[in-house]
């Protein structure tokens, strides 16, 4: 046992325990930590954005370099506060419209590129390859069999999963069959992601426990 003499470490350790107490049930310690967390972090972001965005990107260019264009984001920002004046509250919609327009416009080509064309290209692979076939015939094993059927299975899987997302027709007949297979792929995929993520999540807990037992209590090194 080698308790930390650092008051900051003690503070961090006690707050950690306050949050964990929520697992037992909601209680005053958790409530206090939660409210502190909200207040401090809300303040933190205001300060950070002042120093990292408003001051260097608006105040300095506008007042010290005379770049008048910087007044536009300032105005768009100020329009939000018109919400508090009922008669002209609708002015704030201009700012909202600006941002929704920018976001929507930006996403269209980027989505076409990343989510559609690139994925289509990734799927266009040889359905059958002599090379993996030879490997399998010469050395029939689970691994070579997996390599043989991997790609065709992936191609079929993409098609069937896509057919699950067919909305304008009832899922009967061929479409019904394909979308059933699609659901099977989806479920295996979800299970795999779930199982895969467990490790990362346990690591986070291990990290916290190591902090408590090593930095704070000093029972392990």
């Amino acid at each position: 046992m080698n308790l930390s003499p650092d008051p900051w470490v003690w503070l961090a350790a006690l707050l950690t325990l306050c949050i964990y107490s929520f697992l037992y049930k909601d209680n005053p310690f958790y409530k206090a930590a939660e409210h502190l967390f909200v207040g401090l972090s809300a303040g933190y972001f205001l300060v950070i954005y002042w120093y990292n965005a408003v001051y260097p990107d608006m105040v300095v260019p506008l007042f010290k370099q005379g770049k008048l264009l910087c007044i536009i984001p300032g105005l768009l920002g100020l329009f939000f506060f018109f919400r508090f004046i009922p008669k002209v509250g609708w002015v704030s919609r201009w700012s909202i419209a600006f941002y929704i327009g920018v976001g929507a416009g930006m996403s269209i080509p980027a989505t076409m590129q990343m989510r559609i064309l690139e994925q289509m290209k990734g799927t266009m692979q040889p359905f059958f390859s002599l090379e993996t076939w030879h490997v399998f015939v010469e050395n029939p094993s689970l691994a070579s069999f997996g390599a043989l059927i991997g790609i065709p299975l992936m191609i079929v899987g993409v098609m069937c999963t896509l057919s699950y997302f067919f909305f304008s027709r009832e899922h009967k007949g061929v479409l019904g069959g394909m979308s059933r297979i699609g659901i099977i792929f989806l479920m295996i995929g979800f299970g795999a992601s779930f199982g895969y993520t467990v490790m990362a999540r346990i690591s986070l807990l291990i990290g916290r426990v190591q902090f408590l037992m090593s930095d704070w209590l000093g029972v392990i090194d």
């Binding site: 467990v198 490790m199 990362a200 346990i202 807990l205 291990i206 990290g207 426990v209």
Partner: protein, 277 residues
């Protein structure tokens, strides 16, 4: 209420206690379960083994405190490996918080291996811009980082003598927890400038980077705490990664037991209900 019914709606807190114990006990009393080294981890190890003493490796610290349990042990492992082989290290970061963690790792191990700042290792600090920073470094490192993380001109450090661009380095290793990170390093340092790049990343990110490994764009890859533990095994050293792996194995096994147990209870309960009808 029968036992089966009671188990079916078991208090979640019992599960919480079990998971805590599964993590705490192995940390207190390590079992030292054997760890299998995977080819990607071996790849990174071999890439460093191949380097001659005195050559330089570039380390990029692109993670933050929240992913520290996974990435920091890898960072320690690679620095330990390089120091033990008298390889010189130049650190930097695309994430502001990563630089401090990288510095922590440097200082901890420099003491152990008797290394001097500015001669055997240096930390160039954080630079915002992600991919732009890497491209700029490829052209001219002294111009991109005229000062080290503490604000001292890099001209004062012997380790930076003659360092112009990526040509001065035998390998770049990126410790990454998101973007910007490995993707950018591969895109610029490897694809455009042909540098060898290795990476240590969080477990969640790992599947996305296997294709890079297959295509030879990465020489090696450490994924999550398991990757860190594998590296420690290669170094014949027990660090926090290996210690954590015991806890990992037990917690994983426990969750699997929960799943099986939950299903057994479910089937027993279902059979009972059927009989009632």
């Amino acid at each position: 209420m029968s036992i089966v019914d009671r188990l079916k709606t078991i208090d979640r807190r019992i599960i919480f206690v079990a998971i805590s114990l599964a993590v705490i006990i192995p940390l207190l009393f390590p079992i030292g379960l054997p760890i299998m080294v995977s080819p990607p981890a071996q790849g990174l190890y071999d890439a460093i083994e191949e380097l001659k003493p005195g050559s330089k490796v570039l380390l990029s610290f692109d993670y933050d405190p929240s992913t520290m349990p996974e990435v920091y042990p890898m960072n320690l492992g690679v620095v330990r490996h390089c120091f033990s082989k008298n390889i010189k290290l130049v650190g930097m970061g695309l994430w502001p918080t990563g630089v401090l963690l990288g510095q922590e790792a440097f200082e901890l191990l420099a003491e152990e291996y008797g290394k001097t700042y500015g001669e055997d290792y240096i930390n160039l600090g954080f630079k915002a811009g992600g991919i732009v920073v890497i491209s700029a470094m490829a052209e001219n490192i002294p111009e991109t980082f005229p000062e080290d993380y503490a604000g001292t001109s890099i001209e004062e450090f012997p380790i930076m003598k003659g360092v112009k661009n990526f040509d001065s380095f035998g390998l770049a290793v990126c410790f990454s927890a998101g973007d910007p990170g490995v993707r950018e390093w591969v895109m610029i340092a490897h694809s455009r400038y042909g540098k060898k790049v290795g990476a240590g990343i969080t477990a969640v990110m790992a599947p996305a980077y296997y294709p890079y490994l297959q295509a030879g764009q990465l020489v090696g890859l450490l994924g999550g705490m398991k990757g860190a533990a594998e590296y420690e095994t290669l170094l014949k050293y027990k660090g926090t990664g290996s210690a954590g792996m015991d806890a990992q194995s037990i917690a994983h096994s426990l969750i699997i037991v929960f799943i099986i147990f939950g299903n057994v209870i479910y089937f027993i309960a279902r059979r009972k209900e059927r009989k009632k009808v």
